[in-house]
């Protein structure tokens, strides 16, 4: 299974764009890159998923370079409510059912 590495924490201010980069050097050809968000005392919530290039939805953008060894989650104009833990996931487990979470990046947004 591909291992992911992302910063433990990041700080930002309201209105700024936040970019969280995740490295996954041994990503497999079939692997997709998925990002989840978790607020304190809540379950994780799917944000975005991509395979290559750029994906954008109403919440975030995901940038994936051609070699796919890293990805960047971009949150435009963050607000206080974006304070959460952000997880980068690559692949399900080998059986294809379980999400394998790392420690994630704790984003703190201040006013």
């Amino acid at each position: 299974l591909a291992k992911t590495t992302q910063p433990i924490s990041m700080d930002s201010y309201e209105g700024q764009e936040v970019n969280i980069t995740c490295s996954h050097n041994n990503i497999a050809t079939n692997d997709y890159i998925t990002w989840y968000q978790q607020f304190p005392s809540q379950g994780p919530r799917f944000i975005i998923q991509g395979y290559k290039t750029k994906v954008t939805n109403e919440v975030a953008s995901l940038f994936i370079p051609a070699d796919r060894k890293s990805s960047t989650l971009s949150l435009p104009r963050v607000s206080l409510s974006d304070t959460a833990v952000y997880y980068c996931l690559v692949a399900l487990n080998q059986a294809g059912t379980a999400l394998i979470f790392g420690k994630g990046t704790t984003l703190s947004v201040s006013s």
Partner: protein, 120 residues
């Protein structure tokens, strides 16, 4: 918007007691999961369930754990004899599909709000 619900929100029990955590997955979903998160630690997979049987389980999911879908809507996790180290948030999740098929990947699982289990 449909959502996964879990009851109770908080369960306190004595060590050695049995607990049942309940979940109602999203109605048209086919795959069901339990995860747990010990305070301050990462989310850990416990078990996945499809077509009325366990698809996969982790090392954490030992003989003291069991899952059941007793009717068409509920999905339960039973811990037979709780231990102090079972104290955690337990999250139920569901998804319509799972895995990768061709160019499509089904990594979106919908999580419930969790049950906080405290074992004394």
């Amino acid at each position: 918007e449909p959502e996964v619900t879990q009851t109770p929100s908080h369960q306190v029990t004595q060590m050695g007691q049995e607990v049942i955590l309940r979940c109602v997955p999203i109605s048209n979903h086919l795959y069901f999961y339990w995860y747990r998160q010990i305070l301050g630690q990462k989310v850990e997979f416990l078990v996945s369930f499809y077509n009325n049987e366990i698809s996969e389980k982790s090392e954490i999911f030992d003989d003291q754990f069991s899952v059941e879908r007793p009717d068409g809507s509920n999905f339960t996790l039973k811990i037979r004899s709780t231990k102090l180290e079972d104290s955690a948030m337990y999250f139920c999740a569901s998804s319509p599909l799972t895995g990768t098929s061709g160019t499509n990947s089904y990594n979106e699982q919908f999580f419930g709000p969790g049950t906080r289990l405290t074992v004394l």
